[in-house]
Symmetry: C2
């Protein structure tokens, strides 16, 4: 993927240092405007924010033709650049996808406002009333790739939670993103929230490290995309980052598992939608039941079109696996490919997940309560399951109404990240003249 | 302050690149051991952790003479290096300070265990039970200066909350810190928690950027010290950082304030302990009452030995301020020095705090409910007060039992940071074979 300055006026052939200074100035100015916009937004009423969001949804709906036209330019450029069919599909807007984006915004408008909620309230012995109250974080930077719908989804969630947003989308979706952000931002401006949503008007790759350095203006960065993008952000960031790394998810079929349940969970975790982060990449089978379970699950997975990459123990048990390729325990296949490993026992399964997992979602299938509790305690992942598919790690499934992503970090947000995780808190302390003795 | 390799065996005159590789290997090894130690600790019972902490307290108490002897070496070196009396005082251990450290650990042992607490629990329409449960963060790196008691305080809080700790203290306290960490760690080792607390055995300044780069091993860094140290950590960190910047705290005396209450709060916020981060640095007085209040508060502050640095408007009102030095709105004096500014109104006070404050603690004194609510909403600080002194921003005062610091960041922890903020969560999802449709 090559990145080009396509949107900025200063895209000429300057020398690099000079161009970078200009870009830094431009991005600093955008972040400063976002910070200014964040202040009235932080204390705006739920009604005012929801009205603005509904107007933005209406405006995007009315602009469907324009969005499709701008998207066609990106698709054309993508074809010329030789993007893969999968990438072109992610990039493409259709009337249905625009409608989905619009209804998503309306849904966010209908969710409860997370801002102002009193998280805890207590009175100190000296009579001071302490209120821990949810407040917006401030300015959120979203750095993402490919899918233009992220522009509207992320902006709506950040706005609903009272935050201003600086968006930096992928170069391949630049015209689509710019059109969405312009329509969205203009609608917010009509409600007094000008500057609350801004797309960085350049595809210059240098914009990412510059955004990462704007501490004091941007409060948090949320990178959404491949490992390379996220590592770039982490490497350059002086601003806090909430990481959304890949999902290397496991299902462990314990010796006390019900085979029918295990088969349903394994097939669902692998096949229901293989290209997402909460799909299973590695199946671990307890050695005690492997001779019975491995042939059964191999047949079922093969029947579902899954390619199995098996370890030696599994090959010995099931002749159909003899020619299978070697597993790559650290791979996120995002495809109907599955690693299969026979492990000695529960401890070995936990050790495998600790070593190779990405702290996303992992499941144990067992009828043994003590084994399940041990797994749920020892596996250090955002979501740990007992007798269920890993595919439920999702803000919508969890009942959050929406999600901005699934954090694989442990600080501030872990797992599905909804509106609550887009807030922080302040302590409001109400006194009657108290001083400290 | 010069840093020297005093504790490491590889402190000789190697070439820098080589020495750095050795140090990187050594620190990586320490962090890896901490990660290993963090796993059993994460699921240890409250009883086991508390017994280990009480043993550590007993062991430190029994080692008082040794700690004082090691501290005497640091003091001697500090005198030779020309440390200021204030720094030597912070560095010095006395039998009373060791006793205070010991009783602090016993107090932490007596606090409720934050780990395992069910923060929220709900059932999805498909029957899945979702439990959001508090778990330790993992490995916490504490980078601090001067006071040797931080070694025991931080280690106790991190251990109680189920985290392994890598400590990196100031070079001037190296022998004291090493002795405390050795006694503490040995006691934990007797309870099966070897490696849970480790002091970096070198004062090489290069250790800080190396620790900052150990993502995947260290989960979070908490720097405690001056702005220079914290900025160094932020600049180098690939690991998330919870920042504890300085406190530039304000009291705003609104036109509807009770003058007696305002005077008590101002004197307390400035004078009760000027050298701490929640002490006031700037007093803002509403222009509408300035002619009456400025002379009164000037007299009271001068009587308390406070040097006032006043703006022009205050000088015009109070002749005693005519020769006062100019205020520095961005200074954290940590001394009996106070900036004084007359502002036009509430909005101007908020604007001043927004521009010059450090998002720590700010207070309004007023009898006007609407003005107070506006201030509490608009001032974007960790703690905002109405009719109370800023000095209450403290984990102990808030009833947290203890604190590891006061976060001026907004992510994960904001304001006083107690045991709860040393945990994260995981979702444990209990099913009966659910798969996603």
């Amino acid at each position: 993927m090559t990145d080009r300055m396509t949107g900025a006026e200063d895209s000429g052939q300057r020398e690099p240092g000079d161009a970078r200074d200009v870009l830094t100035g431009q991005l600093t100015q955008i972040a400063r405007q976002a910070l200014e916009a964040s202040r009235p937004l932080a204390t705006a009423s739920a009604e005012a924010k929801n009205a603005a969001l509904r107007d933005a949804a209406d405006a995007l709906e009315a602009s469907t033709a324009e969005l499709l036209a701008m998207n066609a330019r990106d698709i054309e450029a993508g074809v010329a650049r030789g993007l893969s069919p999968a990438m072109l599909d992610r990039l493409r807007l259709t009337p249905e996808r625009v409608a989905g984006m619009v209804s998503g915004i309306r849904k966010v408008a209908g969710l409860p406002d997370p801002v102002g909620v009193i998280l805890r309230e207590w009175t100190l012995p000296n009579g001071l009333l302490v209120r821990k109250r949810a407040v917006p974080i401030g300015v959120i930077g979203i750095i993402y790739e490919s899918r233009p719908n992220v522009t509207a989804d992320a902006a709506a969630l950040c706005f609903k939670s009272g935050n201003a947003t600086v968006l930096r989308g992928g170069s391949e979706a630049f015209h689509s993103n710019a059109a969405i952000a312009r329509v969205f931002g203009t609608a917010l401006g009509r409600h007094g929230f000008a500057g609350a949503v801004t797309l960085v008007p350049t595809t210059d790759r240098a914009a990412v490290p510059i955004l990462c350095s704007l501490d004091g203006l941007i409060d948090v960065l949320i990178p959404r995309g491949g490992r390379g993008l996220i590592e770039t952000v982490v490497r350059h960031a002086r601003v806090p980052v909430i990481k959304h790394y890949d999902g290397i998810c496991h299902v462990f079929v314990h010796r006390a598992a019900d085979f029918g349940m295990a088969e349903r969970i394994v097939l669902n975790a692998k096949c229901q939608r293989p290209g997402v982060c909460n799909a299973m990449e590695t199946l671990l089978v307890d050695g005690a039941i492997a001779p019975a379970f491995v042939p059964r699950i191999t047949a079922a997975l093969h029947a579902s079109g899954v390619e199995i990459r098996a370890d030696d123990a599994a090959r010995l048990i099931e002749p159909a696996l003899a020619g299978a390729p070697r597993p790559d325990w650290g791979a996120e296949y995002l495809a109907p490919i599955l690693n299969l490993r026979v492990v000695e026992n529960l401890d070995a399964a936990v050790a495998h997940i600790t070593k190779h997992g990405s702290r996303h979602s992992d499941s144990i299938v067992t009828g043994d309560h003590a084994a399940a509790e041990k797994f749920l305690g020892a596996v250090d992942s955002a979501a740990v399951y007992w007798n269920a598919s890993t595919r439920f790690t999702d803000g919508g499934e969890f009942g959050f109404g929406a999600e901005i992503g699934i954090s694989t970090g442990k600080l501030h947000a872990r797992g599905p990240m909804g509106l609550e995780e887009l807030t922080t808190w302040k302590y409001q302390i109400l006194g009657s003249g108290q001083v400290r003795g």
